[in-house]
């Protein structure tokens, strides 16, 4: 049954968490994502589904509550915005190291430091390249619409449990705050599955379960790393997601993710109207990154412009994908500034076509 609603991005995320059968949400207020926990508290999902919601004393505590619940095999989620996500990095490294599933939302705002409360994409590196300590990866989903915010919560839990790995939804202040029409999926049941890796109380005839990211013997810790790396190769093989717009005959290519991809799409249409054969490539997964697809498109176009609301972060992955085949340039606004389609088109004309 189709259920259409007009919803704010952050509230849609929260509703999606309830509907995805989440068992628990632990959060801490921060602009521009506080509506997630506000909506959950208002909805009282303990009554709807039995889902537990708790406002923690800090982002640090919240991510560690997620650790505890996730290690019981439960569907746990937290959300925050950039400065708060920095605080969660310790916990995320432990969660990745202990191979626990969870969903973490970052409604990105401008930085560094306390920065600004306006939208940004300047946490790309933190999300995709590490952020916390050690060799680990988050699966990173980048929604461009309120609809995708909803869909990626469901997908996020699926991927988190499929790979026993933390999943980050890299939203931003635009998508979090904007209202759009959204189709909600039907309420899913909370799972009662008892996983063999989860601490649910020691059963007769089995060893006690230990959830840890500690291996004092280097040989053992290397084995953990090798297992993680093998898992990441699987993720890279199976989970790349992207969309292309007008790429079939494109001579010039825009690459952008999240809200920035929507602004860039307008720039692409304006370019087409001027007779410039431009296309747009939008990665939906930032890890795993669609290297192969970008590489294939690089054989067809004359140049690529990576458009980002940061000082040039994803462009490094684009360059890796393109491997020198064609010029790759970056255009960005940052600190909470949002690029206009006009300036994006101008950047294409000056940096790529005229460059």
């Amino acid at each position: 049954m189709k259920e259409l609603r007009l919803m704010k991005g952050n509230e849609a995320l929260a509703e999606a968490a309830i509907r995805a059968g989440a068992d628990a949400y632990f959060g801490y207020p921060i602009t521009p994502q506080s509506e997630v926990i506000e909506y959950l508290m208002r909805e009282n999902p303990a009554k709807r589904t039995g889902m537990q919601v708790l406002q923690a004393e800090s982002e640090v505590a919240a991510i560690n509550m997620v650790y505890g619940a996730a290690a019981c095999g439960k569907r746990a989620m937290t959300s925050s915005s950039s400065p708060g996500i920095s605080l969660k990095m310790e916990g995320l490294s432990y969660i990745a190291g202990a191979e626990l599933p969870c969903v973490v939302v970052n409604v990105v705002r401008g930085g560094p430091g306390l920065g600004t409360i306006q939208p940004s994409q300047s946490d790309y590196f933190q999300a995709v390249k590490g952020g916390g300590h050690g060799d680990y990866k988050l699966i990173v989903l980048a929604p461009a619409t309120v609809q995708e915010s909803v869909d990626f919560v469901k997908l996020g839990f699926e991927l988190a449990f499929k790979y026993r790995n933390p999943v980050m939804i890299l939203s931003d202040g635009i998508i979090g705050q904007m209202m759009e029409k959204v189709e909600l999926f039907e309420q899913m049941e909370r799972s009662s599955e008892e996983y063999e890796w989860a601490t649910v109380g020691k059963k007769e005839g089995r060893d006690s379960v230990i959830v840890t990211s500690l291996q004092l013997q280097s040989e053992e810790q290397e084995k953990v790393n090798l297992r993680l790396q093998a898992k990441y190769r699987e993720v890279e093989k199976n989970e790349v997601r992207f969309e292309t717009y007008e790429c079939e005959d494109a001579e010039y290519l825009f690459i952008a993710f999240g809200s920035c991809a929507r602004i860039t799409r307008k720039a692409m249409e304006m370019a087409r109207a001027k007779g410039i054969k431009a296309g747009l490539f939008r990665p939906q997964t930032l890890y795993p990154y669609p290297y192969d697809e970008v590489n294939r498109l690089a054989s067809q176009v004359k140049g690529i412009l990576s458009v980002e609301m940061n000082a040039g972060q994803m462009v490094e992955d684009v360059r890796l994908a393109v491997s020198g085949k064609v010029p790759v340039k970056h255009f960005g606004r940052f600190g909470g500034m949002i690029p206009s389609p006009d300036e994006i088109l101008e950047a294409l004309e000056q940096k790529i076509i005229g460059g």
């Binding site: 068992d23 628990a24 632990f26 537990q52 708790l54 923690a56 004393e57 800090s58 640090v60 505590a61 919240a62 560690n64 509550m65 997620v66 650790y67 505890g68 619940a69 996730a70 290690a71 019981c72 439960k74 746990a76 310790e90 916990g91 432990y94 202990a98 601490t199 649910v200 109380g201 020691k202 059963k203 007769e204 006690s208 379960v209 230990i210 959830v211 840890t212 990211s213 500690l214």
Partner: protein
């Protein structure tokens, strides 16, 4: 009479509890951790809740506690055990959840998590081992190091004018409405071991009532960190630690 016939319950022969594994403890000779582990394991055993207990290990000397307790366990980041335990208890409210933490973990880096878990009245047991020193990292000053006490980062003794005062966190959490039972014990002589075990057992039993956090501090020794023999360290503990950290119940449930 054969050895087998002597070992029978009515003869009260000591047996190792099945809630402790057969792994050899890594703790230093004379350290109180082993005894503290044993009484907690025995309490779990005697209450018959081994299959319903989930423990959280800290970072510090007892980081490997999960090797010794034969219950499902999680290893938390440094200081975060009360938050991890909160996450567990909120999704598994019918389980018995405990944390086992040292003074650095609980009263320095994890102060916020400790106070807020207690203040929310999370229905968990916090076992707090206070030996006034960072043992695992080599004997540095802890939040509970006594004034004038020497450590590798207070080599001339703790100068409270620059290094701050020892934190009586147990008295502090007893003030919070969320705590139900708060007590301070020791495990250095048999009589106190029995008392400490009774306190832990009571605290676990209280967890069924859902009345709030139970907090059991065990003032303990650190022969290695204090640079003393085990016997000297126990004597030093009696003469110096107990006057500052007096043993006994601090908050008991209202009748």
């Amino acid at each position: 009479m054969s050895e087998k016939s002597i070992i029978s319950p009515e003869n009260l022969v000591y047996e190792k509890t099945g809630v402790m594994t057969d792994k050899v403890l890594h703790y230093c000779p004379g350290c109180g951790h082993g005894t503290a582990h044993r009484i907690l394991a025995e309490a779990i055993d005697e209450l018959g809740i081994q299959g319903d207990t989930i423990g959280v290990a800290p970072v510090g000397c007892s980081v490997l506690a999960y090797y010794y307790f034969d219950v499902d366990m999680q290893e938390a980041a440094h200081g975060r055990a009360p938050a991890v335990a909160t996450g567990i208890k909120r999704v598994m409210p019918e389980k018995y959840v405990f944390t086992y933490q040292g003074d650095g973990d609980l009263a320095a880096i994890g102060t916020a998590e400790t106070i807020h878990a207690c203040n929310r009245g999370e229905n968990i047991l916090v076992v707090f081992i206070n030996n006034g020193i960072y043992g695992m990292t080599g004997g540095q000053m802890a939040p509970t190091t006594l004034p004038g006490m020497k450590s590798s980062t207070s080599p001339f003794g703790r100068d409270v004018s620059t290094m701050g005062n020892p934190l009586k966190i147990t008295e502090l959490v007893a003030q919070l409405p969320g705590t139900y039972f708060v007590t301070r014990q020791s495990v250095h002589v048999p009589a106190n071991v029995r008392k400490a075990k009774r306190a832990i057992k009571k605290a676990l039993e209280y967890q069924k009532l859902n009345r709030g956090t139970c907090f059991v501090e065990i003032v303990s020794n650190c022969p290695y960190g204090w640079k003393m023999t085990p016997v000297e360290s126990n004597k030093w503990m009696e003469e110096n630690m107990f006057p500052f950290y007096p043993l006994g119940d601090i908050k008991v449930p209202e009748k």
